[in-house]
């Protein structure tokens, strides 16, 4: 029983337990900072695209908060007081993370691709969400779908970098490239535990680059 719980709830090598939750918490904090910055833009302009961008990062914040909390609770429970409810905690936490992250990526996709047709947006959700819920493996479907959506977002950011040609837009492009690669690395976790470490590292690094963009902008236009 305990063995099956361990195999379900623990990801990556044993020396990495706890580090993953910390990295996810850092990602949540950075996503929250982007939410605040974007909300300021929305309040100043009232343009819907900034509203959607804010909502997207707000959901991403909650998504990574759910994942960090789940990993912390699961690792604590598993080693201190194993319970039969552990797999439920794990699945509930990860399902929350998966659904919120996927909706967030879809929102970001519609904003970066400048899709304004409501029917097209509704169709995207109607195709993607059931394909995840009805899947036999939430994890494989989630990382596969995330990889595909993020790949298009990354391409949009590459186009933006070519247009704008500044360091901030380059950092955003590289950040989303790393986040896309992280989804592929998560998919490879079944092959070797180290892919999980690489995925978490790549994901954290992508958000640290986004933090660098925020700090650069803040310092450049210091009041």
């Amino acid at each position: 029983m305990l063995y099956s719980m361990v195999s379900i709830a623990l990801q990556g090598p044993s020396w990495f337990f706890g580090v993953d939750a910390t990295l996810e918490a850092i990602v949540a904090v950075i996503a929250f900072l982007v939410t605040v910055a974007s909300l300021r833009v929305y309040r100043l302009t009232k343009e819907p695209k900034y509203g959607w961008f804010t909502a997207s990062f707000a959901l991403l914040t909650l998504s990574f908060l759910a994942r960090a909390l789940t990993n912390t609770i699961v690792e604590e429970l598993l080693f201190k007081c194993p319970t039969q409810y552990l797999p439920y905690v794990f699945y509930l936490g990860y399902l929350t993370h998966i659904i919120l992250a996927l909706v967030s990526f879809l929102m970001l996709f519609t904003v970066t691709q400048r899709i304004e047709n409501k029917s097209v947006i509704a169709l995207l959700y109607l195709i993607l969400i059931p394909s995840l819920v009805l899947s036999s493996s939430y994890f494989l479907s989630f990382y596969g779908l995330s990889f595909a959506i993020l790949l298009f977002i990354t391409l949009a950011y590459y186009q933006n970098y070519k247009k704008v040609r500044n360091s901030a837009s380059l950092l955003v492009f590289v950040a989303f490239l790393l986040l896309t690669l992280a989804q592929a690395f998560f998919l490879l976790e079944a092959v070797n535990d180290l892919w999980y470490v690489l995925a978490q590292g790549s994901q954290a690094l992508s958000f640290l680059l986004i933090l660098l963009v925020l700090l650069t902008i803040k310092l450049k236009f210091r009041k």
């Binding site: 300021r40 833009v41 100043l44 302009t45 900034y50 961008f53 933006n160 901030a168 837009s169």
Partner: protein
Amino acid sequence: MKRAKSDIVFDMLRAMEAKGGKIKPTHLLYKSNLSHQRMKLYVGELKEKELIKDSQTEGKLVYELTDKGRWFLQNFKQMKAFTEAFGL
């Protein structure tokens, strides 16, 4: 492409800042690339929000950027850099 209202306001305030915080109405008209009628509307709104004020230089009317206007412009520059970086 049609400029958003926020872009027009940004261009006007930036033009004032580039001229040391004070600008002649004719200069602003040229820099903001608006019709006289539309510029008057925008100037009215900026004055109402206390971002600019009327001032005199050598007995002639100029528009002057207020402290609130400078603070608003800095915020706007941050916002522009943010939206540009994220391709918004």
